[in-house]
């Protein structure tokens, strides 16, 4: 089993009101010096079988057509090392 991570972020030119709300709260909480916050989504897909090029291509399609709305969002797909479960 392997894990594929899809990160989805609003494109830089798209206003991110949620990120802005978080950023505005920071000084109130005593965190200074953070000039911008963008909020995104992370999907962790547990994949049965090997994550070969075909599997990655399918996940790329999935991310492009479903997980991200490419009108407003960018996404990245990467394989994450999963520590072997203790038997």
């Amino acid at each position: 089993m392997a894990r594929v991570v899809v990160d989805v972020m609003l494109k830089p030119e798209i206003l991110d009101p949620q990120g802005q709300a978080v950023q505005r709260a920071l000084p109130r909480l005593g965190f200074d010096g953070i000039s911008d916050v963008r909020q995104g989504k992370r999907f962790e897909l547990e994949v049965d079988g090997p994550v070969d090029e075909t599997a990655l291509a399918r996940i790329h399609d999935l991310a492009e057509s479903f997980l991200a709305n490419t009108v407003i969002e960018d996404f990245t797909v990467r394989v994450e090392e999963v520590a072997e479960a203790v038997k």
């Binding site: 206003l15 949620q18 009108v71």
Partner: protein, 226 residues
């Protein structure tokens, strides 16, 4: 024969009954469609109503776009079937790429519920012919993901082709680009808007206005004359 207008119910749809009622008041026959239906029961037009389809857990309308009923709907909409998307229905139509652009969370992050003044910009679509261009109407608005955005090229295209169907007047309630409240596709058979015309069809409820009724009489007239 009476025109038959389908209303799709997804898990999480809220306004299916109101929409059916509005269709009945306009003089057409509402036909209940279920999200798992694989055919459209030979309806003459379809309304995708408001609500939070599948909880909107991924993005508003993103999961509904892949339900079985959307397959024939997308195909037939491209072939000319009149489709109206209200609120969540509008979001579903953008996710299905039947309408351009998409909806973001309101710029102030609050859910809004207000009587919204609009200007009818395009009175030549399948759903707006009973209005006149430039007419000002009041339609209830209730949503949290209502900020219409599109890239500059799409906006220019919509503006130059007269495909902005409705614009917010007096206040822009959510930060939508160019004050856009509703858009139409190129052929004018697919229309989407954030405010809820089905909540403004009877003088006894809501704001006491019936400014939303012409949506449903427009389509009825079009279908009867077709």
């Amino acid at each position: 024969m009476t025109a038959r207008i389908g209303v799709v119910t997804f898990p999480g749809s809220l306004d299916d009954r109101d929409t059916q009622r509005a269709i009945r008041l306009a003089g057409a026959e509402p036909v209940a469609l279920w999200h798992k239906d694989k055919d459209l029961k030979q309806v003459d037009a379809v309304v995708l109503c408001g609500g939070f389809s599948y909880g909107d857990y991924l993005r508003a309308g993103a999961i509904a776009r892949f339900s079985p009923v959307m397959e024939p709907l997308i195909e037939q909409a491209k072939a000319g079937l009149p489709v109206l998307g209200i609120c969540n229905g509008f979001q579903i139509l953008t996710e299905a790429h039947l309408l351009p652009g998409t909806m973001l969370r309101n710029n102030h992050l609050h859910f809004i519920c207000r009587d919204q003044k609009l200007r009818v910009e395009n009175a030549e679509t399948a759903w707006t012919s009973d209005y006149t261009a430039g007419q000002e109407i009041h339609i209830p608005l209730k949503n949290i993901d209502g900020q219409y955005v599109a890239d500059q090229r799409t906006l220019d295209e919509l503006e130059s082709e007269g495909r902005v169907a409705f614009r917010y007047l007096d206040v822009n309630p959510n930060g939508s680009n160019n004050d856009i409240a509703g858009v139409a596709n190129e052929a004018g058979n697919v229309v989407g808007l954030m405010p809820h015309p089905e909540h403004a069809v009877e003088p006894l409820v809501g704001t006491g206005r019936t400014d939303g009724l012409p949506f449903f009489t427009s389509i009825l007239k079009k279908l009867v004359n077709a």
